[in-house]
Symmetry: C2
Subunit: 262 residues, 2 copies
């Protein structure tokens, strides 16, 4: 272990983290040397799909933990590549993301994010806060995000999930109402919060939930009816880890607008 | 902080943990003194319902962390008490469990379990394992348990969730098939595992997932078709933390058998 730091909070740096390219940033005061630890994560593999919030969360976590140069492959849900041999070898459920670190396979997006924080605690952004209230809120929001994502999916993919002969307008309407109620709860969570979902620093809650809100807005979710969600989205969308991993299929233009009446 | 231990792994014990009743166990070799730290958790409140896996998980976690004497109130879903004022004051979603520690409210069962481990790391059972492979698997299984619980719910509560005019036998059948597929995946996870879901020690994966399997079996899930699940269930059901918190409404007799053809 090397302890590196001068004038900044010291960080516990694994020597293997200092393989090139590590960045030596010299600021305007030459005596102030900051070493940012960047790991060339050649022992990691991520199979992912563009525009999938669960994949995006993992990519953001990797950036925040300064894990660069991992093996990655962009695959296509439209082509059904989540059921391809290379995905199934890692994730028998045939879902994105599929992730491997050395010999350890971890599936489920949130699980991968927690794993990365656990394994690289002292590298990059600290993604689990310190205070009891912040810790409790972070965990709560992450587990509340599961029904949020589910409710968005039930509106967006109703026709895909439900066979034609079983579809009912009343069910569609009920799903929409459930999503509206859910979004109101999140408006409440975001009321008076600063730049982040929890306390004064970026945490796993942001890693996991920002992509869900971005997906909501991308698919037509109203910025007017959910101003706190919209403000949060705008504050974070230019964060380097988020901007760098912005879904490539989203860059060309807007989404479908399916959620416009939510 | 006091460091207590002789002949056993030492534990970092908070003095407040030694308020009575702390247990001083003297084994057959009098020089070997083991102090088990028990906190009288009078600053915690749990509102819960009997037979709810999310509530049960929290109760198991509290036992494993040696948190005793917390304020608790058994309420009734049948009476709609999840929407009562006292629940809504803690959990605006009107769901069990509702949990508070000092001034910190934490809702969502898994979030509460993680919070307890985070806040009482050095007390009671260590619920997050050490090794990378074990950590990754634990997180994966916990997040995979969300769709498992959801699929059980979709079979058990179809008539409650879906209005009469929207019900279809084909949907019921599809939900059953989805649960069967899910259970097969868990049979695979449990193939060749020892007493616990992850590695050689009890972890948050057991805290959270044992109650889900118990619920499956309680409601008629087949021990013959899912022998690994049944074996796991039998190995853990007499563990003190589990036995002590066994749902009181389950003691009088078997459940409904709704899952018997899964």
């Amino acid at each position: 272990m090397w302890w590196v730091g001068a004038g900044y909070k010291t960080r516990n740096v694994d020597p293997s983290a200092l393989t090139p390219p590590s960045f030596l940033l010299l600021n305007s005061r030459p005596q102030l040397l900051l070493v940012i630890s960047v790991t060339m994560a050649k022992d990691m593999t991520l199979l992912w799909a563009s525009g999938s919030p669960p994949c995006w969360g993992v990519q953001i976590a990797l950036e925040e933990k300064n894990l660069q140069g991992y093996n990655q492959k962009l695959l296509s849900v439209a082509k059904g590549e989540q059921k391809s041999k290379e995905v199934l070898e890692i994730n028998p459920r045939g879902q994105f993301p599929a992730f491997k670190h050395k010999n350890t396979i971890v599936n489920e997006s949130c699980a991968i994010c927690f794993y990365l924080e656990n394994q690289f605690k002292s590298q990059g952004t600290q993604l689990i806060p310190e205070g009891a209230a912040e810790v409790g809120l972070m965990y709560q929001l992450i587990f509340e995000a599961q029904p949020l994502a589910q409710k968005i999916g039930e509106v967006l993919y109703y026709n895909w999930k439900v066979p034609e002969g079983e579809r009912h307008d009343s069910a569609v309407q009920r799903n929409k109402e459930a999503l509206k109620e859910e979004m109101k709860i999140w408006e409440g969570h975001l009321q008076g919060c600063g730049d982040f979902l929890v306390g004064k620093s970026f945490s796993l809650a942001d890693v996991i939930i920002f992509p869900v809100f971005a997906y909501f807005i991308r698919n037509g979710g109203s910025e007017e009816r959910y101003p706190n969600v919209a403000a949060y989205y705008k504050k974070l969308r230019d964060r380097p880890s988020i901007k760098k991993t912005w879904p490539p299929t989203w860059i060309d233009g807007p989404g479908m607008g399916t959620l416009k009446d939510i």
